[in-house]
């Protein structure tokens, strides 16, 4: 309970007008490269475990939309951008380090 109380504090203090606490996530990948596949499966697992029912995940293949690379300032891939809630955060890599992903999403680390 105490953990759940901490969570809204840390995020919602910054962006209170956000009624919706849904996590808006965009994952940029490059086709079916090993890193991309791993990132997709790792992220899905994390979301299912920690944010069940409270997230929207969009997976974008940059190969298909090269223009987006410049617009979104993409360099390293795979890239996860958390648009909401709170400030935008960028996470790169295959999402294998769960603690780092959680920290990046502003969630408490797994024990």
């Amino acid at each position: 309970m105490s953990q759940q109380e901490q969570l809204p504090l840390s995020i919602d203090n910054l962006n209170y007008d956000h009624d919706d606490h849904t996590f808006q996530l965009r994952l940029f990948v490059t086709g079916a490269s090993p890193n991309s596949s791993r990132a997709i499966s790792n992220l899905k697992e994390i979301c299912e475990t920690f944010l069940k029912g409270n997230y929207q995940l969009e997976v974008i293949d940059v190969y298909q939309q090269p223009l987006i690379a410049e617009r979104e300032q993409i360099i390293a891939l795979p890239l996860l951008i958390k648009k909401a809630p709170g400030v935008e955060r960028r996470l790169i890599g295959d999402m294998s380090n769960t603690n780092k992903v959680l920290r990046g999403l502003g969630l408490p680390a797994e024990n």
């Binding site: 940059v62 300032q73 360099i75 390293a76 891939l77 890599g93 295959d94 380090n97 990046g104």
Partner: protein, 588 residues
């Protein structure tokens, strides 16, 4: 003639060989850089430009892109890891480049790559495919032939996994080569001897250019050096370059070869006696002349005379003054009967006066280049080059003058330098060491003798013409400059009043001798007269003596006659047979 022909075919042969070996190159369009690299950067390969912060890496690479787009019709992509596109646009707008228009015309694509470590969380394995896609898209969208990555090393500050980065860099360079673009990667100079902080030179092995920015004696000079250029010959020296309102200009020795045209026509020095010393005709057109001497020996006057003569002949002359202001020179030269003002008014003479310390040597050189290009003079005067030493070392001044002389000779412009020699020892050929470069060297020096100072002039050397080996006295009067022959007497060379005194002395000697001669003549006359009178008196004496003698003789004769007559009479009187006596007489 024959030798020329062979050498000609030789060079042709070399050229042909060259075209086989020569790498295809992409001209940068940057003044001077293409000369050093023998045509530009290796085509279709990445090159590295490295240097400290603020040494001009970004500008050089950006100019490469812009010149490519505007001059060579090669579109280019500029990936900026440091500055934003707007900032870059503003920065080059001051150089007269309109990046917005070029972007609009799809000739240039600017892409600002933003990396901030604080915004990024690394959660595992990743690659830089995003950058590749981005770059690939940018290249394809405008058909780019040129790419710049400025400064790629910023990736290392944004991302922490250097192992991944290094692997990706290697892939990046392969990617660029595959794309067939000529790329420039810039990198910050690293600690110690390494060229870049992250060792980018390991990946880029074809062409590495090092930029440098040094401040010596409060005057900063930018320099460029081609550290490496695989498969091509290149200038290996450090070349100064500068950034001005027209972009970057690298100043190489205009050509690495010594193949300029020569002229055998002559130009007068303006002083007839000096022309006489130079085989009667003066200097060669397009040659370089050095006038050196100690302070106050009339170097500027000689230079002004030369300028005046050039202008009188309807030719144009450009006068660089590093010591006096133009007005000062004009006024001073009036005192020796040279009117420069009328040439200025006519527009055939132009002064360019600047303090040597105003800016660095390279700036001076560029200013001269530009003025010479604009004014197109037939003769150039630099007065004095020695003042440039205040802004550079002897070797720097020398290298600058080498380039200037080279440039002027290519343009067939006659140049006269004046140099102040602090040392009166002639054998010590300082003079900024240009004495070996110049074609003719006139030396004006003080000759101190007998409590006065006079100017002596002689020709140290004059390539390709017969010239006098004599020391002449150099005289500056109200009427102008002149050379007179010094007096060479048993006591050595005499000048000035000593020469005059010697002349006077000689004149006196002649007068005295003349006088003596006339006196002797008179004496002889007198003696002759005396003797003549003596002779006449003696003659008179002789005559009187003769007369006396004659008188006696006549008296004797008379006496005898009388005696005989008397005797005859006596005989008659004695009645002697006269007939008998007559017979006897007739028998007798």
């Amino acid at each position: 003639m024959r030798r020329n022909k062979t050498s000609c075919t030789m060079t042709n042969f070399h050229k042909q060989q060259h075209s086989f070996i020569q790498l295809p190159k992409t001209p940068t369009g940057i003044t001077g850089l293409d000369e050093i690299t023998g045509g530009g950067l290796p085509k279709g390969r990445p090159s590295l430009i490295c240097g400290e912060a603020g040494c001009g890496k970004t500008l050089m690479s950006l100019e490469f892109i812009i010149r490519g787009a505007t001059q060579f019709n090669e579109p280019g992509v500029f990936m900026a890891f440091e500055e934003k596109a707007e900032e870059l646009t503003q920065n080059v707008a001051s150089l007269g480049f309109d990046l917005n228009k070029l972007q609009h015309d799809k000739l240039v694509k600017l892409d600002h790559v933003h990396i901030d470590r604080s915004e990024i969380e690394e959660t595992g394995e990743y690659d830089l495919e995003g950058l590749f896609i981005r770059m690939g898209y940018a290249i394809d969208s405008i058909g780019a032939k040129r790419v710049v990555l400025d400064t790629l090393e910023n990736l290392f500050s944004g991302l922490s996994d250097t192992a991944i980065l290094r692997a990706e860099l290697r892939r990046l360079f392969n990617f660029l080569k595959e794309k067939g673009v000529t790329a420039i990667i810039t990198g910050e100079k690293g600690e110690g001897g390494s060229l870049t902080r992250q060792g980018l030179e390991e990946y880029v092995s074809d062409c590495v250019i090092l930029l440098d920015h040094r401040v010596i004696n409060q005057i900063s000079t930018r320099r460029l050096r081609v550290v490496k250029y695989r498969g091509s010959q290149h200038g290996t020296n450090e070349y100064p370059f500068l950034i001005d309102e027209e972009g970057i200009s690298v100043l190489p020795v205009t050509s690495l070869k010594l193949e300029k045209e020569v002229s055998s026509s002559r130009v007068s020095s303006g002083i007839p006696a000096l022309d006489d010393m130079l085989g009667g005709k003066g200097f060669f057109k397009g040659s370089s002349v050095l006038v050196s001497g100690t302070a106050g020996t009339g170097k500027t006057s000689i230079a002004a005379y030369f300028a005046n003569e050039t202008c009188n002949g309807g030719k144009k002359c450009l006068y660089f003054a590093f010591e006096e202001s133009p007005k000062q020179i004009v006024r001073n030269m009036k005192s020796i009967n040279v009117d420069l003002q009328k040439h200025i008014d006519k527009g055939v003479l132009q002064f360019f006066a600047s303090r040597p310390t105003l800016y660095g040597l390279e700036m001076h050189l560029v200013a001269m280049y530009k003025l010479i290009h604009k004014f197109k003079p037939d003769a150039v005067v630099l007065d004095p080059i020695t003042n440039l030493i205040t802004v550079g070392s002897v070797s720097e001044v020398k290298s600058m003058l080498v380039r200037l002389i080279d440039f002027l000779q290519e343009m067939q412009i006659t140049v006269m330098f004046t140099a102040l020699s602090l040392n009166t020892i002639v054998s010590e050929q300082t003079d900024e060491g240009v004495s070996s470069l110049v074609d003719a060297w006139l030396l004006v020096r003080d000759i101190e003798y007998n409590g006065e100072r006079n100017r002596g002039m002689y020709i140290m050397k004059s390539r390709g013409m017969k010239h006098s080996n004599q020391v002449r006295e150099f005289i500056i009067t109200d009427k102008g400059l002149d050379l007179v022959e010094v007096y060479l007497g048993p006591e050595g060379v005499l000048t000035g009043s000593a020469r005059e005194a010697q002349k006077l002395q000689e004149k006196t000697g002649v007068a005295l001798r003349d006088f003596a001669v006339s006196r002797k003549d008179k004496e002889i006359m007198r003696k002759r007269k005396m003797l003549e009178s003596k002779i006449s008196s003696l003659q008179a004496e002789f005559e009187s003596a003769e007369e006396e003698l004659n008188k006696i003789y006549l008296e004797e004769q008379l006496k005898q006659e009388i005696v005989e007559r008397n005797r005859a009479e006596m005989t008659n009187m004695r009645k002697g047979s006269i007939d008998a006596e007559n017979k006897i007489r007739s028998k007798k």
